[in-house]
């Protein structure tokens, strides 16, 4: 959970160094989770950072993943969260004008402007918000309920391994299992895949080159054939 909190915190602070640092752990953890696609992409990202990108490129790429709509410190968000928010605004606006391509084409590029106008209108005419939006309530009450429950069940207390919890299965440790997954063939599969991609790239280039060459040769042969035909015709005529 600390990994998740740190990841969110690093994004919010706009600290790309901390994002890169915590992504190392997330890369290992994902190897043990069900998201094999993300696990592979994170390995590829790590490889690019280590061996393919210069520091300038790395910095440019990571900084492009973050957006700060207000220009204030600790107000950074991920670029795709911004996009998701735009999608939500678009859907809300579309609900009033209908889902037509003609309307969508002009609404979406101006969606942020519409959002500003919407807020201004509400403020000017003192309209109450009829949506389900609510301010965050303090979680203190819920925290106390859980703390009391933990105490009652003798969980995370002074006693390290209470007898009552002996039969409870341990929780999956993603870090440990991630390292094991990498050592037991996960990393070898990644290396193989990278090698295959590399060879595909070079093979494709080679095939294309061969094709280009053979085309050129065919043209030349055709040319020579026509020339020889002309020559023979000239001999017999």
């Amino acid at each position: 959970m600390v990994v998740y909190i740190e990841f969110c915190s690093a994004i919010k602070d706009g600290d790309i160094g901390r994002i890169e640092q915590i992504l190392k752990r997330i890369t290992i953890m994902f190897q043990a989770s069900n998201n094999k696609n993300y696990a592979l992409e994170l390995l590829r990202l790590r490889y690019n950072i280590r061996h393919k990108w210069t520091d300038t490129r790395k910095r440019a790429i990571f900084s492009s993943l973050l957006i700060n709509t207000q220009g204030l410190p600790h107000r950074w968000i991920a670029g795709d969260l911004y996009q998701e928010f735009n999608n939500l605004l678009t859907k809300r606006t579309h609900a009033t004008v209908g889902f037509k391509t003609s309307t969508m084409s002009y609404i979406t590029p101006l969606i942020r402007l519409f959002h500003v106008i919407h807020k201004k209108m509400r403020a000017e005419y003192k309209l109450t918000d009829e949506s389900a939006f609510h301010r965050d309530v303090t979680p203190e009450g819920d925290i106390l309920i859980i703390v009391n429950s933990l105490k009652e069940s003798n969980i995370l207390g002074v006693e390290k391994c209470p007898v009552a919890h002996e039969g409870v299965a341990p929780v999956q440790d993603l870090m440990v299992e991630g390292v094991q997954a990498l050592q037991k063939g996960g990393f070898a599969r990644f290396v193989k895949r990278m090698a295959e991609e590399e060879s595909d790239r070079t093979d494709n280039t080679a095939t294309e080159l061969e094709e280009a060459l053979s085309d050129e040769m065919l043209i030349r042969l055709d040319d020579e054939r026509s020339r020889s035909e002309k020559y023979l015709n000239s001999l017999f005529n």
Partner: protein, 294 residues
């Protein structure tokens, strides 16, 4: 960022075979994570601690922070293109090229970041593999750098935590148990609401940290009392560890040889321990002084 220098690619070298050591954490990563741990645990225990020397000493030193500035973003018009297919992604890129008004040939000297979810990134990779032999630089897609976006990773990580710690409804300590106890909805394992899941996980985490801290505190108090008892050659009578599950706000007795009273949720405990001497123990993180009567 438009026009930002994307630097050179290390293509001059031969492709380097990935090594496991590149993925594994080293000693400095471990040290850095200790600082991270300390910071986030202290934030949970003392949410109001945002300034002062203690806050500074517990904060995470920035590594590469970005200078705050308003990011300019330009939204494209909605398109009727099926983005789930490889061809659909190519059509989207084509539309993007038209919007920015660049000819296909100009992409030879360009590098552009294409950030998206896993589906987008994998489709771009497929396109790059397929179109490597194309004639014009735009169709070759060598200019595109596909990268995963961060919010999608946040969502996946959040869901993974929820799934792993979900457990059984009848099992105290599991998330399923607390989900029911707190009456949380929209937290099904297949597609949980990210906002709700985030708030729920942070609440449970805060509760667990507090419980662990209090338990550690009790064990600390017990140890101190035992040490003092040893030094003073005295004996504890009527000691209840649960009597220390509280934070003392007022100390009624300040003198070293007076009887001290403790308050816990307005219940007064009058010197549960044999009272002869007084011990002052100061907890620096919680900034509370605790007086024990011995």
């Amino acid at each position: 960022m438009v026009g930002e220098n994307l630097g050179e690619e290390l293509t001059s070298r031969r492709p380097i075979t990935p090594a496991l050591v590149d993925i594994m954490l080293n000693k400095s990563d471990m040290e850095q994570f200790k600082v991270v741990y300390r910071h986030h645990l202290s934030r949970v225990l003392k949410p109001g601690l945002k300034s002062g020397s203690l806050s500074l000493s517990l904060s995470i030193p920035p590594i590469t922070p970005l200078a705050p500035r308003v990011t300019e973003a330009y939204e494209m018009a909605a398109m009727e293109i099926d983005q789930s297919s490889v061809e659909g992604n190519m059509l989207v890129l084509e539309e993007m090229r038209k919007v920015i008004g660049k000819c296909k040939g100009s992409f030879e000297l360009l590098k552009m970041l294409i950030a998206g979810d896993h589906l987008t990134v994998s489709r771009i990779h497929s396109l790059q593999e397929r179109k490597v032999g194309d004639v014009n630089p735009f169709d070759q897609l060598l200019w595109a750098i596909p990268v995963l976006q961060l919010f999608h990773m946040q969502m996946i990580l959040c869901s993974a935590i929820l799934r792993i710690h979900h457990g059984h409804i009848a099992q105290p300590g599991s998330l399923h148990y607390y989900k029911t106890k707190l009456g949380r909805r929209r937290l099904n394992l297949d597609s949980p609401c990210h906002h709700t899941a985030d708030e729920f996980l942070r609440t449970v985490f805060a509760a667990m940290v507090r419980q662990m801290w209090q338990a550690k505190h009790v064990s600390f108090v017990q140890k101190k009392i035992l040490i003092c008892c040893f030094h003073l050659n005295t004996k504890i009578v009527n000691f209840h560890p649960t009597a220390f599950f509280f934070r003392i706000s007022t100390l009624r007795a300040q003198g070293p040889y007076q009887a001290t009273t403790f308050s816990q949720n307005s219940t007064t405990l009058s010197a549960p321990i044999f009272s002869t001497r007084t011990l002052y123990a100061v907890n620096t993180l919680q900034q509370t002084s605790i007086v024990f009567s011995l």
